[in-house]
């Protein structure tokens, strides 16, 4: 694929033809292209939006200056183009930007200078096609009580533009956007056309639509990974408003079509818990293993939130680096201080078998016509819990009764019982390695009109 470049062009002929309303006395000139002194990309996670900042030093003549900016074959949103004067702001004014007739992907700024001068300008715009994702590798210790965690970020560039020596920043957060940048960049006209075009109502003005950005970051088919191993780079993290900004040390070059992976953080000795859950409404008859730990300082984490991404969990099983792959899950955004819960899938090493040991019907009631109108359904439950692993495990049994009219009685372990909400109960118990336990309780559910009786 040929390299595409954004052009800030010197085109005198076009200047003369496009400004008919200036009288002959006004000086019209174009600003000559100068070297780029700085470029920065700020890439948003999951929004397909990158804010590009391009700093240059330009020469202005006295009077009107025209600066043409074109971006053919890239995915720049023309509505986001902005030009800010950073020096001599009292002498230079940005009058307007025109998207001329008959040409696509071109914007022309009209800049008025009170005198000839030189000034640093900053051009910013949004582009689509650059994305980043995070993923993690966890290494569980042999005793399954601690783990090490490495976080990575992968930046991929499909914007159509090369970004050379750019300061690269990544934003973690959920922004509200109305329109996808990819759509804005592909429109025929920068701001669309008037609502009532050619006498008929067109499709809704894009500013009427409220499109929330909810897409999950899709796994990227990288065309190439890092070209060569360079030294480990630091990633500085800063909280801003509702977002976190990760700034990659130094500058990065990410050509169009390439991807780059960087280590975001490393932490050791994270205390983890293994929880085995049985919840028929969510997991069927499986016992599912969850690995949990907190994103906090005690765990050598807790400096920034953890962005969502895939986590692969391995376990060390030998002294010579032998590993076992335990499972993988996609984690959501984890704020500082919050617990992360990884679903590692069904397991056969812990068993939770609920059985109904006795069944009765009591308190049968009848209506005025003698028809049955309600009763109490009584079940004696026994939960058989078995831990076949060599580590202590926390076992959780959750039952959703789909009714708030019930009673739990005759519990063998009342201290392990919790009524989560009006129709959900939970037993949570620690089981030592290679051990069994049984929990018994009686569930009485009121059916029919019995629900309304005192």
């Amino acid at each position: 694929m040929p390299v595409k470049k954004i052009i800030i062009a010197f085109t005198l002929a076009m200047a003369v033809s496009l400004l008919p309303f200036f009288n002959a006395a006004a000086k019209i000139d174009l600003v000559t292209l100068q070297d780029r002194i700085f470029v920065e990309t700020t890439i948003y996670n999951k929004a397909d939006l990158t804010l590009v900042r391009d700093k240059r030093v330009l020469n202005f003549v006295k009077g009107m200056n025209r600066l043409q900016f074109s971006w053919a074959n890239t995915k720049i949103d023309p509505t986001s183009l902005s030009l800010d004067i950073k020096e001599n702001t009292d002498k230079i004014d940005v009058v307007e930007i025109t998207y001329p007739q008959g040409t696509r992907d071109v914007g022309i700024w009209l800049i008025k200078a009170k005198q000839p001068c030189r000034a640093q300008v900053e051009i910013t715009y949004f582009t689509s096609g650059i994305s980043w994702e995070s993923y993690y590798l966890a290494l569980l210790s042999k005793d399954q009580k601690t783990c090490g965690l490495k976080g990575y970020v992968k930046v991929t560039n499909y914007s159509g533009e090369d970004y050379n020596n750019a300061r690269t920043r990544l934003v973690v957060g959920k922004i509200n956007i109305l329109d996808k940048i990819a759509m804005l960049s592909s429109r025929q006209y920068p701001y669309g056309t008037p609502e009532y075009f050619a006498g008929k109502t067109r499709i809704k003005n894009v500013y009427e639509k409220g499109i929330r950005e909810l897409d999950y970051a899709r796994p990227v088919m990288a065309m190439a990974l890092t070209k060569k191993k360079s030294g480990l780079k630091n990633i500085k993290k800063q909280g801003l408003s509702e977002y976190f900004l990760y700034t990659i040390e130094g500058k990065e070059t990410i050509p169009d079509g390439w991807a780059k992976r960087l280590l975001s953080f490393k932490a050791e000795n994270i205390r983890v818990k293994n929880i085995y859950k049985y919840e028929y409404e969510r997991f069927g008859q499986n016992v599912v293993r969850f690995l949990t730990f907190k994103n906090n300082k005690e765990n050598n984490l807790g400096k920034t939130p953890m962005p969502g991404g895939e986590i692969k969990v391995f376990q060390s099983i030998g002294k010579k680096g032998e590993l076992d792959f335990i499972g993988a899950d996609s984690t959501k955004y984890i704020p500082i201080g919050k617990k992360i819960e990884l679903n590692l899938g069904p397991t056969l090493n812990v068993k939770i078998v609920p059985r109904i040991m006795a069944y009765r019907k009591k308190n049968i009631i009848f209506d005025t016509k003698g028809n049955m109108s309600g009763f109490d359904e009584v079940k004696d439950f026994e939960l058989k819990l078995s831990n076949f692993t060599s580590a202590a495990s926390t076992i959780e049994y959750v039952k959703n009764l789909r009714s708030s009219h019930f009673k739990i009685t005759k519990m063998t372990h009342p201290d392990k019982f919790e009524k989560k909400d009006q129709d959900t109960i939970r037993f949570k118990i620690e089981l030592p390695p290679h051990s069994n336990k049984s929990i018994r309780f009686t569930l009485t559910t009121l059916r029919g009109e019995r629900r309304w009786q005192k």
Binding site: Y99, I175, E242
Partner: protein, 392 residues
């Protein structure tokens, strides 16, 4: 290129001599439509823009015919008007005719004398409009914004305007050019240090109640609120509806993009809010702890007709940020209800909407008990009255 066509005096004269009948005694002349002296456009909200052209016309004493025609542009024929400005007492419009099969009209104008007259021709032109966009930049503390407002002129009308005065809602015009198929964005308002208030709003009707169960992190909608009044540095004109993009300055001499929203029309004195995104560092969980029916009344067949319901809810809130926040919690209770145990202060926005403004310190957790009873819940044919249906 499409353009408004004007029939030249020579051609016009030719048409009149061959096609029209009038008595030799009447003094009838055809007035040529001279060049525009000044054009103003006033942007509307209906997709059609009012164009007003000033021209100097020469009227002869007697009846004058003025022909106005157009091609490849969409002018609303019933909107075309001609107003005399210099000597309105000496000139009167006798009639307006629409020739068949033509995009044209002919004015019959009577002049009491030979006059050089300034006239205003007004008409609604389609496919040209202006939309508003905003750019706001806040500082690290998020206490105020610098607001820029832009007008984006879009001209797909078929007409080229070499020099026009564009009027906005504040009555102040600016001069620019606008050719067919051209789009132009111009800064029209620039204000700094407009105070803002940052809002976090959790609405129990719209938000998931148990976010821990979801695969993706749930965020609390976050927005900036500000007033369009003198205290905030605005207050001179309504703020028109338009797309607003918000940025924040960081400590790297750069900015980040916070989010965008549609700013609603805000008259002077009113407030508006712009949503920037979601905060995923504030977590709200609502659990229904109990529901009990009491005071049940039945018919002779034993069917329930009406009852009361006691409801117990618990709402847990956690601020995981390093800064204090004020969370606005919105709860809706339909029907006839009474509070039993509501453990925090609230305001009632209306009969069913409660708003709690809850301050959370950094890393603080709070819990709200929301216990109430709903009275006289009807079943069967009157169940529609369990919520207010007619607000008028």
């Amino acid at each position: 290129m499409a353009k408004i066509k004007y029939i030249s005096p020579f051609l016009l004269s030719f048409i009149i001599l061959s096609g029209l009948s009038f008595t030799a005694a009447a003094r009838t002349n055809l007035v040529s439509l001279p060049q525009r002296q000044h054009v103003a456009i006033r942007l509307g909200t209906t997709g059609k823009t009012l164009v007003q052209e000033k021209r100097i016309m020469l009227f002869k004493k007697g009846i004058n015919k003025v022909d106005f025609s157009w091609q490849n542009v969409e002018i609303d024929p019933s909107s075309i008007t001609l107003t005399t400005l210099s000597n309105p007492d000496k000139i009167s419009i006798l009639s307006v005719s629409y020739p068949p099969g033509e995009a044209a009209l002919v004015w019959d104008i009577k002049s009491l004398a030979n006059l050089e007259e300034e006239v205003m021709i007004s008409y609604l032109l389609a496919n040209i409009d202006g939309i508003i966009t905003y750019k706001a930049v806040t500082g690290p503390g998020e206490q105020a914004i610098d607001l820029n407002s832009y007008i984006v002129l879009r001209n797909f009308s078929g007409e080229n305007f070499n020099k026009i005065a564009v009027y906005l809602n504040d009555g102040k015009p600016f001069i620019t050019s606008l050719h067919h198929l051209e789009t132009k964005r111009i800064l029209v308002l620039q204000k700094q240090n407009i105070p803002i208030k940052k809002l976090y709003t959790w609405n129990s009707l719209k938000m998931p109640h148990e976010p821990e169960k979801l695969k993706t992190a749930v965020g609390i909608p976050t927005s900036y609120e500000f007033y369009n009044n003198k205290d905030s540095g605005l207050g001179t004109a309504s703020l028109l509806r338009g797309k607003a993009r918000i940025f924040q300055r960081d400590n790297q001499k750069s900015t980040i993009f916070l989010g965008e929203d549609t700013a609603k029309f805000t008259p002077v004195g009113d407030k508006t809010d712009i949503r920037i995104g979601d905060s995923r560092d504030i977590v709200v969980t609502k659990l229904r702890l109990d529901t009990k029916r009491t005071n049940i009344k039945r018919n002779t067949k034993g069917s329930i007709q009406v009852y009361d319901e006691y409801i117990k809810n618990s709402i847990a809130m956690e601020n995981l940020k390093d800064k204090p926040v004020t969370l606005s919690l919105v709860e809706t209770i339909q029907g006839q209800w009474e509070p039993l145990d509501i453990s925090m202060d609230y305001k009632t926005q209306d009969h069913k909407t409660l708003i709690f403004n809850i301050k959370l310190l950094p890393k603080e957790k709070k819990s709200l008990n929301l216990n109430y009873k709903v009275l006289n819940i009807f079943v069967n044919q009157f169940s529609q009255y369990n919520r207010v249906v007619n607000y008028n």
